[in-house]
Structure formats: C-alpha cells, structure tokens
C-alpha cells in the first residue's frame, strides 16, 4: 500500500470530528426529523416554530435537521438533548406543543414527559424505545444513525466510527474485504437475495482495467421508502459501502443511480460526496494510500423498469431503459461493456459494519440462510407506520402485531402485501412465516425491496391485485411479448371480474396466463408481475368467486358491484347533512321526511356515508347492488 498508514490518516479525521462534537456539547440541541416523510408531515414548519420560540426567549440552542428515525406515524418528530437530561424524542409536534416544550423544558426544567414518545438513552425516569415491543424486536444495523445524526456534516458520521471500516480495509489487502463479504453471506437487498460476495468475486476476477460500482437507488415500489430514508438520513454509510466494494473489486469509479423524484436524497448524497472528497475519503489516493475511487450521482428519469439492472445500465448509457437478455451478466459486461457490480442501497449499507465487525458477527444475526436484518416500510392499516429494521427470521405476525403495534381499533386483519408489485398478498394463516428470502418465496411472495402493506376487511383482494397489475402493466417496457401483452390481458380480465363479469374458466385462464407470464417473460418485472394475482387466487379465491358468481364484492369496494342505501330506520328527519355532501344531487327528501338516494345519479363517491353523523350511521353500502324492498318508498 501507499506511504501513509490509512489508519493514521483516519485518526486525524477522528480527532477533527471529536473537536467538532465537543464544541457543540454545552448548548441544548434540538434534532428535527426532516427527511421527506417528516417534511410531508410539516417538519419544516416545526423547525421554524422552534427557531421562533427560542429567539423570542433568547435561549441558545442548536436546531439541527436530521433524517428519519423510523417512527413516521408520529411525525413531525424532534429529539431534545439538554445537558443534565436524557435525550428525549417528542412526536406529533405542532406550534402549540413546540411553544410548550421550549417554555417548560428549554427555558424551565420540566421535560414534559407526557408528550414524549421515548427516551433515547437509559435513565431512571422515562422508558426508552428499547422498552417498547417494537424496540425489543428491532435491531438497527443500517438504520443505526438514521434520524440521530446530522447528515450535513461528515464529522457526525466519522464521530460514530464512520469510515473506520474503510481505514481498516485500506490497511489490508482488497481480498480481505471480499472474503468477509463473501463469508458473511450478505444477500442482495434489492429483492432477489443473490449473494453479494459471489457477485463481487466474479467482478474482481474479471481481467479488465476499468470496472464500475453502481448503487441501485431507483426505488419505485408503491409504498416503499427504505432506500430514500437511508440516503437522506445517513448517506455516508452507503458511500462507504460503495468505496469498500470499489476497493475489493478494483474499480475506480462508482455511480449512485437515484431517481429524480427523490430530490432530497440526491441533494444529501451530492453534499456527502463533496465532503468525502474534501476529507480525502473520495478521489485520488484515499486516506493517503494509492487507491483512487470517485463517486457520482446519476439521476434516473422515473421509469420503474430502470430499477432492473440491465435496463438501468442501458438508461445510463443514454439508451432506452429496456432490459436485455442475460448472459452476459453485468459482472462480465455491464456499464459501457465493463465488469460492473450493481447492488441495492441497503446491500452497500451493510458492508462497513461487516468489514469492521467481521462475517461471524453478521452471521450471528438473522437466520443461517439469510443472515442480517431486513428493513421494511410498514404502511397501510397499521398503527406504527414507519421504517423498521428487524433480524431475519422474525415472523410476519411479530412484525405486524408487535413491531407495528397491530391494526387500529375496529380493523380486522385480512392480508399483508409484501414485496410491492412483484410480491404477493399473504393471509392470516401465513403470518407465522419467518421473514427470510426463501420462506417468503415459498409462500408465494418475495422479500422484494421491503414494502409491507397491511390490509383489512375494507380491502378487496381482487381490487388489490388489479391495482398492482395496473401498475406493472403501465410500467412494462413493452419489449417482450409476455409482459407487454400478457399483463394487459391480466389487467383486462381482473377489471372484468371487479365488474362481476367472468366464470370459472376466467379464473382458470387468469391462473394459466399468470404462470406463463412468470415463465416466459424476459426480465424480472414480467416474471414477478403475476405474483399479486397468483397469491390472491391462492389465498382469497372465495373473493374472486363472490365477484363472478354472486356479483358481490365482499369488501364493498368494487364500484360496479355496490350501491349506497340510506336505512330509513336509522335516518333522521332532523338532519340534512348527506344532502349537502352529495356532489351530484342524488339525495332527496322523501315525502315522509327521510332521505333516499336516486341510484341513477349516484356516483358512489362515499361522501354521504362519511358525512352521516355517527349517531345515525344510516348510510350503508350493499353488495350485490340490489335495493331492499321497502314499504312506502317512492320509486325513482
């Protein structure tokens, strides 16, 4: 290696980071989660509120933007660190609450625990996140810094031992990095679970001078936001993983392919790259060694198919983002025909700790075949929406009931959709499946990128399958026959079923066509597109049958199979709310003063049902759409 010991160089960076941290210790610090999820919930306004209140009272405190801590359900969030108190996280912030916290806690000395979610460090007064069921299951390997450090300054990452894996690796041989990653059996977190070490090894062995490292951050599944949160909250971790990969395989250049719809992630990564360059962590002669490596952001233009590896490379080369048949694999001929390693954001994010703490440590977490953790974005009918990281092998039931705190009151679990449009819907009976690549595959779903949507009795499984097919059909590139035409026909058949059209043969065709698309398609978009159909057919066949045989949608979702009806026994003559809520004037007052709906005018917008006061609860949906017989009702 080079003339300077990289560990020595790193020590200097660490000293700098320590000075940086020390200079900031005296004042209270307010960390506000301003990742995309926080901003959507109003975090920037909360930040303004804090600044305003502090200014008004002349309190000296640092207001700092951090990323996503994962508790998205309680956004906007802030962590207050005041010397003499444990750091405490507050949720559901608004102007009034900010006012109160500044007044009572920062000006006074009352931490207002009644508004706190949890403390971040052990203390005698208030429980920490680890004391709740979610905290007991969670094990944060790659999310450890998310929402806790200020990503805008590299010193914070270095202060939490960031880039120490790089310094360690650079003082050894590249083969050592490769060996650890391979031994750790780190499987690709993009969804398919291909071992990263085997990929890297193939690329390292390729006899070419030029090689590339690409990070796939073209996250596009509906309901998935893991990669976005990591890039926004802790970008340096991903950079470090990529640099380590570059070192291991002998590449000098890497790209982060980030979709342009993630402007905040793009910005944070670009700033992180700048700072890494300034600190000799990127560029020529990294940490004083003779290893050169640089990174660049490539913004994807938003086609879902560009998350497919060969399509991604085509789009980087300025061609249409269409997949290619493999072989050759990317490790043989990837970007510009050169050997290329392409991995997901999360895969790279694991690498620094694997290098630092060793393969055995990594394998001690999770299951033997799928070591490590899984990161999920929990959404849908679940209390604890947000970003969670649990060891592989945790069951879906634990994830939903304990980590996600179950379904809101009155909601009955029906299915969990896992793996996005390429994944499947699993029923109650499959909830004890442990989360790992192989078990989920056997159940008909896939790990996918980690989106997890919980559904309840109000979700129609045919409509859900149709929704995902609409997505994949729209996102199909159209290159190959099975995906271009097959998904179109699948969608048409499903649309017909939501209208009650079809028979037993339709279901059989749905099944056959799905299997053939799976076998026949060119790339993984097509090969996995039928999964939502196949799993719903397998686990919720009765719902399909209800649609076509009885013209009934059990979840009362499919518009063609429902009608709205006002129950005369519950309706009140004194109330007119529904009449005003109807955009098409379909509701009229009957001769007896009660309300009724003129079916021809009704567009089934659900406004009247929502508007009807809970004490009456008179508006209901009926399926099949047949009006009950009624005495004295005016026919219209």
């Amino acid at each position: 290696m080079g003339t300077v010991n990289p560990q020595e160089q790193y020590k200097q960076l660490q000293n700098k980071a320590e000075d940086y941290a020390q200079a900031r210790q005296e004042k209270p610090r307010i960390l506000i989660g301003t990742a995309t999820c926080g901003r959507a919930a109003g975090a920037m306004q909360v930040k303004e509120n804090f600044l305003h209140e502090l200014d008004k009272r002349n309190i000296e405190a640092d207001v700092i933007e951090v990323g996503c801590i994962g508790h998205c359900y309680a956004e906007p969030l802030a962590i207050i660190e005041k010397p003499g108190f444990p750091a405490v996280c507050y949720g559901y912030l608004d102007e009034g609450l900010v006012n109160r916290l500044v007044e009572d806690f920062l000006a006074g000395d009352d931490p207002s625990y009644e508004f706190a979610l949890a403390a971040l460090e052990r203390n005698d007064v208030f429980p920490t996140f680890e004391d709740f069921p979610r905290g007991i299951h969670e094990e944060k390997l790659i999310l450890e810094n998310c929402g806790l450090i200020n990503f805008q300054h590299i010193e914070n990452y270095i202060g939490s031992e960031g880039y120490s894996a790089l310094a360690l690796a650079l003082s050894r041989e590249p083969a050592k990095v490769l060996e650890e990653v391979k031994k750790a059996n780190l499987r690709g977190r993009g969804g398919a679970g291909f071992p990263a070490g085997i990929k890297w090894e193939a690329c390292a062995g390729a006899k070419e001078d030029e090689k590339f490292v690409i990070c796939n951050a073209d996250e596009g599944d509906p309901g998935a936001f893991m990669d976005r949160s990591i890039l926004e909250s802790d970008p340096h971790r991903v950079l470090e993983g990529m640099i380590l990969c570059g070192f291991a395989i002998g590449a000098k250049k890497g790209y982060l392919y980030i979709r342009a719809e993630y402007p905040l992630a793009v910005k944070h990564v670009q700033e992180a790259i700048e700072q890494a360059r300034e600190n000799n962590i990127l560029g020529d002669g990294i940490l004083g060694t003779d290893f050169d490596f640089d990174l660049e952001v490539f913004q994807g233009s938003g086609a879902f198919i560009c998350g497919e590896a060969t399509a991604l490379v085509n789009s980087m080369e300025g061609k249409m983002g269409l997949p290619e048949s493999r072989p050759p694999r990317l490790v043989q001929a990837g970007l510009r025909g050169k050997p290329t390693v392409l991995n997901n954001v999360k895969t790279f994010a694991y690498v620094p700790r694997i290098v630092k703490e060793g393969a055995d440590w990594f394998k001690s977490i999770g299951t033997p075949e799928s070591p490590g953790t899984a990161v999920f974005s929990l959404v849908g009918k679940i209390n604890g929406t947000g970003l969670v990281e649990v060891p592989m092998g945790t069951t879906l039931r634990q994830l939903i009931e304990e980590v996600g705190d179950g379904l809101p009151e009155g909601r009955e679990f029906k299915a969990v959709q896992i793996g996005g449009p390429s994944g499947g819907c699993l029923p109650e009976s499959a909830l004890d499946v442990p989360i790992d690549f192989d078990s989920l595959h056997d159940a008909g779903a896939i790990m996918g990128s980690g989106g997890l949507v919980v559904m309840d009795q109000d979700d129609c499984m045919v409509a859900v399958a149709r929704y995902f097919l609409e997505f994949t059909q729209h996102e199909s590139c159209g290159k190959c026959t099975f995906c271009r035409l097959g998904t179109k026909h699948l969608l048409d058949i499903l649309t017909n079923i939501t209208k009650g059209e079809g028979d037993r043969e339709t279901l059989q065709l749905l099944d056959e066509l799905s299997e053939d698309i799976k076998q026949g398609s060119l790339c993984n978009l097509g090969r996995t597109a039928p999964n939502p159909v196949l799993t719903t057919l397998r686990y919720f066949r009765d719902e399909y049958e209800a649609h076509i045989e009885e013209g009934r949608c059990p979840a009362l979702v499919c518009r063609d199979l429902i009608l709205y009806y006002i129950k005369p026994k519950k309706c009140s003559k004194l109330c007119n709310v529904c009449v005003g809520s109807c955009p098409t004037e379909a509701i009229y007052t009957r001769d007896d003063g009660l309300k009724a709906i003129e079916q021809e005018k009704c567009v089934k917008c659900d406004n009247c049902r929502k508007a009807c006061p809970p004490e009456y609860d008179a508006v209901i949906k009926l399926s099949p759409p047949v009006l009950p017989e009624e005495k004295g009702a005016r026919s219209k």
């Binding site: 048949s325 159209g478 035409l485 026949g520």
Partner: protein, 216 residues
C-alpha cells in the same frame, strides 16, 4: 481445445461451432424452432418475441434458444409440454394484438406467423384472449411500400435493418408497454425523413406490417 462442440437436439447428434447460438444451430440442421425477433448477425439477441423456447437437460425451466450458446454435451429438446404451452400462449398473445385479416394481407402465404402456426400446430385465430382494439394510422408515404402497424408484432427486425443494413436511422421504437410501436422521429411520414425507399426494412418484416404496395 477444439472450436467444435457436439450436442444433441431431439436425439440427433449435431456438431456446431463454439459460441454459436442454439437457435441458429438447430435451424441450420433443419430442426425447426419458432422465432420472430432473432437476428443472426446481432451478437446480443433481442430475445423479445419469446417463442424460441427449448428444454435443456439440467436446466429447471425452458430457455430461449436465441440467447443460449451451444455447449459440449448439451442435450436439447425443442418440444415438450412446457415448451408447447409457452409457445402457444406467446403466439396467442401476439395474435390478440394482430390484424388477423390474412386474406387481405400482402404477406399472406409468406408470413412468419403462418409458418409458426403450421409448424407448431397452432390456430390462426383468436382463442383465449379478447383482441386488443387499436386505432393506427397507415403510413403509405414511401413510393414503394407502406407501414400498417395493425399487423406489427414488435419484433424489431425492421429497426435493425434500417440501422444496420440501410444505415438510414429512420425507424425506431417509441412508447412503453402496450403502447410500444415502430415509428419515425416525431411520428412524421417516413418519406419526409429521408427514407430513400431502399426497402431493407420491408424485406426484414416477417409479417405484413411493412409491405410493397404493388402486392397489396
């Protein structure tokens, strides 16, 4: 090492040059495998028509022969229950988006779809899938030929010929998914874009999408 490999296709022992693709080796030995998009001169196969499936011993599912290199000792079957099922579905899918008025088609009797139907015992009519309704404009601007997209199977033969043989660069694909079509820059009539009527694209078209006007 020899540059030849010996493989078995449908119980026949065949010698072939190393690096060759299975599809072409079979065809050259008079073993039929249905195909539309394959181009022998193109090193990276398009592999988009998804009709040339074969079974290879030791592989867990059928593979496209256009993208598979021959290997020493490879044992290949061009027909099997699984292969036939995929070919049938693929073929039916293509027909569901194809103007099936063969009698009035200039490619009648020379159409690759007809050849596939005959060789594979498939029917040239709509079966399981409802035909997709389309509204295409006919481009008959070139002097000698015309483009009728209602017959196009998106095989890409014309685009390849236009770029690699004619070196004209007039034709290309646009749009995504079900809307993918062969077209010209900004959908302008071919004749307005420097198409010199060399007709390489017409000769390349396996169906009647690009055709000589005199034949119609």
């Amino acid at each position: 090492m020899s540059n030849q490999v010996t493989l078995t296709i449908n119980d026949r022992e065949i010698k072939a040059g190393k690096g060759n693709k299975l599809l072409w080796v079979a065809l050259e030995n008079d073993i039929y495998i249905p195909h539309l998009c394959a181009i022998k001169e193109e090193p990276r196969p398009n592999a988009s028509c998804r009709l040339c499936f074969v079974e290879i011993e030791g592989r867990d599912k059928p593979v496209t022969s256009c993208s598979t290199e021959v290997e020493e000792g490879m044992v290949v079957k061009t027909r099997s229950e699984r292969v036939d099922r995929l070919v049938k579905t693929g073929f039916e899918l293509l027909l569901s988006d194809h103007n099936l008025d063969c009698r009035n088609c200039p490619a009648n009797r020379s159409c690759s779809l007809q050849v596939i139907a005959k060789k594979c015992g498939l029917k040239l009519r709509h079966q399981r899938f409802t035909p997709i309704e389309r509204d295409y404009e006919l481009d008959d601007s070139p002097a000698e030929f015309a483009l009728d997209r209602s017959r196009c199977v998106r095989c890409g033969q014309c685009v390849w010929a236009d770029r690699n043989e004619a070196k004209a660069g007039v034709l290309g694909f646009k749009n995504r998914g079900i809307d993918r079509i062969v077209t010209s820059f900004n959908d302008q009539p071919l004749a307005d874009l420097g198409c010199n009527s060399c007709a390489h694209c017409v000769d390349a078209c396996p169906v009647g999408a690009l055709y000589y006007k005199q034949k119609a």
